[in-house]
């Protein structure tokens, strides 16, 4: 059966869909409303005229008003007649193809062709403009004639007179309008004030010499200032003064201080832009602010030969880009790791830009932790909370590097009127400095060369920088710290920034003053550090058996850390309960290290697993939930080793394989197949199995290590139970049975004490099992502690060091999830 294709408007639709209008043989039928709407409108107009007659003469009735308008409203009928003819014409066109063709193609088509041939588009535009003008003048004349009850021509002639008479009223309206506009202008003017402070040379006393620990960045910044001070130096050689610097890095690393130093050093005005300056209630205020800011900057730049503007917390301007790809080595993640915790040997710098962008985008894409970042960026009603949004950022971009249009009324209009070319704008030497700790939230367009030419990372200071910073701040107060102690302090505060160092020194001073002393001692510094990093200890007393269990748990960590881990030093071991842990062993890297190795990760896992192995060993295969954090760390590291870092039995990256959906490889491909292994079986092992196997192997190793060092574990547990907190050196002293700074480890060389400790532990294990109290008293070793320590072992001289912000939680081994042995 064949379905005939019909082109008629009433026929079924062709399979290709609705026909194009110019393909139809007849006119497309009009909907009823379109057919009637003008007639309805004219009826309404006519009744309006009738009403007008009745309104203007109170004695005219409705019927007579209609009769009157029948004659005086003739033009409505004329228009209605024309509309009627038009609709009839359409109706015929809808049904008669020949008629439709004649009008569309022959008549109008021919007319249009003729018109296009004779008149250019521009002429037609002008002609149409004239017609439009004439039409509206005619309409106005007719209306005015009606209103003034005279002929349209008379009304038109008298129009100037009408306007003149209406002028007072018009002026009145204009004044009202002006008042309304002025109200808004005044509101916006007031709202666009503030947030911008101008400092002139010598207003700020901070100098470059006050910025410590960031010398490499400082040198670069100085270079920019030099060029701003003497632009000819670079411009005479065909270059240009770099216009923008972005300082990015973790909070407190001295970005603002550096900018302040720039303000102090430079001989140019310095404009500080408050981070909140562009957060407005109303749409458009931000744009006004940016424009007024740059107007001010240009004025200052011209007057003083240059100006520096500093946007603090520049991320408040961003909010458009997910990534600042212009930065050469922005980290892929959101955290900004310390210098020694670099994620790769070369970053992405050896890759092509396209690949860099792709990888960076992938790295920044939410990995489950933030599935819908857009939601958090929703601008509320009234545009409130809009930071750099609502056109502010765009305005800033344009001002930074937009079209350099000629400025000034005379320059732009009068000169052009006289046929002169407008003068180009002068060179405004504006150095834009921005600081942020969220570079990835800045717009890419903002960071392109020409706007922000130089991007410097102001990271955590190196050890040398920290030493210099400590020296700088300690020089301002009275202290008795030796250079060695300051060096030690710099070592045990690896992530300290300028701000935290300043704070620590101040806290130490407060501690000293509270004790009634004028001079800061080493003890004050350590107490201040403990207070700042751990908060005040919770004054909680464990029950005896639990204290012992926690001590054993931490002792296992400390022992395995000491025995196996060479890249970290124990900083502190404590069983004092903190806000979210029962005890901890914190480690620090003794030196700035930038790479991590497989052997190191393995020892990290060993240290993590030490708690589980130790609890099982010392408590007859019982173990607490306190190991959960340790197991999490161990599993995480083992997973990364196996699937990401090529430290397992495969080479390919699991994350990439998963993302590209190519499937993950089995084991055995990493060249680490051992003798006797069945390659097929190895291939089939899933990633999770391989991780579990690896962890089990390491657990066996750590069990062996603890078994070999059982005495040392009990010694350490005893020392912890006695002193609550041990410094790293004391831990080593106890294990090595030698004198430490606060604890004399030699007492643990006594086999009798070790026997007592074993008996005590045996009783503690029984008490643990039976939920009773320990039958024996803890062996008394207090007299053996070094009484010479001024700090004393009573807790006030404890060395408590906070865990460093290790993203994987490797350095600290807390016993935090629950009471051990519960």
């Amino acid at each position: 059966m064949t379905i005939a294709r019909s082109g008629s408007p009433g026929g079924p639709l062709p399979s290709e869909g609705r026909p194009r209008d110019d393909e139809r043989p007849t006119r497309k039928p009009l909907p009823v409303w379109d057919r009637l709407k003008f007639l309805v409108l004219l009826v309404l107009v006519w009744f309006l005229l009738v009403w007008s007659v009745m309104a203007s003469d109170p004695i005219v009735g409705f019927a007579d008003a209609m009769r009157i308008e029948l004659t005086s409203g003739w033009w409505v009928f004329a228009l209605a007649g024309l509309e009627l003819i038009r609709q009839v014409h359409f109706l015929i066109s809808e049904h008669w193809a020949g008629y439709h063709r004649f009008w569309t193609q022959t008549f109008f088509g021919g007319w249009e062709r003729e018109r296009n041939r004779k008149l250019s588009d521009w002429t037609r535009f002008r002609l149409w403009r004239v017609i439009t003008w004439v039409f509206w003048i005619a309409v106005i004349a007719v209306v005015a004639g009606k209103v003034k009850q005279t002929s349209p021509v008379n009304a038109l002639v008298n129009m100037p007179s009408y306007i003149w008479h209406a002028l007072p009223f018009v002026l009145q309206l204009l004044v009202i309008l002006l008042f309304v506009v002025l109200q808004f202008a005044a509101i916006f003017w007031f709202l666009s004030r503030g947030g911008v402070d101008v400092y002139f040379p010598d207003d700020i006393k901070t100098r470059f010499s006050d910025v410590w620990g960031q010398d490499h960045v400082l040198e670069r910044v100085k270079e920019n200032i030099l060029y701003l001070e003497d632009p000819e130096k670079i411009e005479s050689r065909g270059g240009y003064v770099p216009g923008g610097i972005l300082l990015w890095g973790p909070p407190g690393t001295g970005k603002t201080l550096m900018a302040e130093a720039v303000a102090g050093e430079t001989g140019r005005p310095y404009v500080f832009v408050d981070p909140g300056a562009f957060i407005n209630m109303f749409m458009g205020v931000g744009i006004l602010k940016v424009k007024s800011l740059f107007r001010k900057l240009r004025k200052l730049a011209l007057r003083y030969g240059g100006v520096i503007v500093f946007f603090d917390e520049a991320d408040s301007l961003g909010r458009r880009g997910a990534l600042a790809q212009g930065g050469p080595n922005f980290p892929g993640g959101r955290a900004t790791p310390a210098a020694w915790h670099a994620t790769g040997c070369n970053g992405f710098s050896y890759l092509s830009p396209g690949v860099q962008w792709h990888l960076a985008q992938r790295a920044l894409s939410p990995a489950g932790d933030e599935p819908d970042t857009r939601r958090s960026k929703q601008v509320m009603g009234m545009g409130m909370g809009g930071g750099g949004g609502m056109g502010t950022l765009e305005a800033l971009l344009t001002e930074l590097s937009g079209l350099k249009k000629p400025r000034g009324f005379v320059n732009r209009h009068v000169r052009r009127l006289l046929g002169m070319r407008p003068k180009p704008p002068p060179k405004y030497r504006i150095l834009v400095m921005m600081a942020t700790n969220m570079p990835e939230s800045l717009d890419e367009a903002l960071l392109r060369p020409g706007r922000i030419d130089r991007i410097y990372k102001v990271g955590y200071p190196s050890k040398a920088g920290r030493v210099r910073t400590y020296e700088g701040y300690f020089a301002k107060v009275r202290h008795e710290l030796t250079p060695q102690e300051i060096d030690k302090l710099a070592t045990i505060t690896p992530y300290a920034t300028g701000a935290t160092i300043k704070d620590l020194v101040n806290e130490a001073l407060i501690t000293a003053i509270r004790d009634g002393r004028e001079v800061i001692s080493w003890r004050d510094v350590i107490r201040a550090k403990q207070l700042k990093e751990l908060g005040p200890p919770e004054d909680v007393e464990y029950i005896e058996r639990e204290r012992h269990a926690v001590a054993v748990h931490e002792a296992c960590h400390a022992l395995v850390a000491y025995r196996t881990r060479q890249h970290m030093e124990i900083d502190i071991a404590t069983i004092e309960k903190g806000s979210d842990y029962l005890g901890m062993v914190a480690s620090i890297p003794p030196e700035d290290q930038f790479t991590r190795w497989r052997s190191e990760y393995e020892t990290d896992i060993l240290v993590s697993l030490a708690s589980l192995a130790g609890e099982r060993m010392f408590f007859n295969d019982d173990s607490s939930s306190g190991v959960s954090g340790d197991l999490e760390s161990a599993t995480t590291v083992a997973s990364f080793m196996e699937g990401f870092w090529g430290m397992g039995s495969t080479v390919s990256s699991y994350s990439t394989a998963k993302r590209l959906e190519v499937g993950s490889p089995g084991g055995g491909a990493g060249g680490r197949a051992k003798k006797g292994q069945d390659p097929e079986a190895e291939m089939r092992r899933a990633l999770a199995d391989r991780i579990e196997d690896n962890l089990n192997g390491l657990l066996a190793r750590v069990h062996e290590i603890i078994s070999r060092n059982r005495d040392q574990v009990l010694s350490l547990a005893h020392a912890l139970e006695t002193h609550k907190t041990l410094s790293g050196d004391d831990v080593v002293a106890v294990i090595e049975q030698r004198p430490g700074p606060f604890v004399d480890g030699r007492v643990y060389a006594d086999p009798a004490l070790i026997r007592e400790l074993e008996q005590y532990h045996a009783q503690a294990a029984i008490a643990h099992r039976e939920h009773g109290s320990i039958a024996l008293d803890m062996p008394d070793a207090v007299p053996l502690a070094l009484a010479a320590s001024a700090a004393g072992p009573a807790g006030d001289g404890t060395w408590v060091v906070a865990p460093h912000p290790d993203p994987l939680g490797l350095g600290d081994h807390e016993n935090g999830s629950g009471p051990p042995g519960g």
Binding site: L39, D57, I59, V60, R67, L70
Partner: protein, 202 residues
């Protein structure tokens, strides 16, 4: 539209006369014709005894309208209306009696004064005397009276109103011979009762 057209097929039943500026309105049958405004103006002058003319109009039911029909006896009805502005002195002198005597002596004092001056007016007879008040608080009088103008007895229907602020004086005079008036009273009454002033203080 068609229905509307049917309604409007006939011409208006009346001719509506309006002075929009001064808010004076009345209607006359469509067969009445307007008297030439220029001849009317020439006949009345710019200033009357009572005030200054702001607007004047006259309609004549005769086939050939003439200003003479207004100011003399006529066998067919004529309507003559004016608006006068009143000065403060004129306002002070304004009273219902002065309204009655606006065009012809109607009150006894006025008639006595007129006879003293030997004017040729006789045969006065008052047919109706009303005080008129409208919703805008405009007040005035309506007088119907006869006068013998020598040729025949003429009946006059005079309505005089002042606006509430007494700044303007409005009048409508319809007259014709007594026989004509009696014959066409219905038509004349329609004209006179349609006389409306807009009120207000302007």
């Amino acid at each position: 539209m068609a229905g509307v057209a049917i309604v409007g097929c006939a011409a208006p039943q009346y001719h509506y006369v309006a002075d929009s500026a001064d808010n004076a309105y009345f209607k006359v049958p469509p067969s009445w014709h307007q008297v030439s405004p220029s001849s009317l103006q020439a006949a009345e002058g710019s200033q009357s005894q009572e005030g200054t003319y702001l607007w004047s109009v006259a309609y004549d039911s005769a086939k050939k309208p003439s200003v003479d029909h207004i100011f003399s006896a006529t066998p067919t009805p004529v309507a003559y209306s004016s608006v006068l502005s009143l000065s403060s002195a004129e306002r002070n002198d304004l009273s219902f009696n002065s309204m009655r005597d606006l065009l012809l002596p109607v009150t006894s004092q006025a008639r006595k004064a007129a006879s003293t001056a030997h004017e040729e007016l006789s045969g006065f007879a008052s047919l109706s005397d009303q005080v008129v008040t409208d919703s805008h608080n405009d007040r005035g009088i309506r007088e119907i009276f006869d006068y013998d103008l020598g040729t025949s007895l003429e009946t006059f229907d005079l309505t005089v109103m002042a606006n509430s602020a007494t700044t303007k004086l409005y009048f409508l005079l319809v007259h014709c011979s007594a026989s004509c008036f009696a014959a066409d009273y219905k038509q004349i009454s329609t004209v006179v009762t349609s006389f409306t002033i807009g009120g207000g203080g302007s």
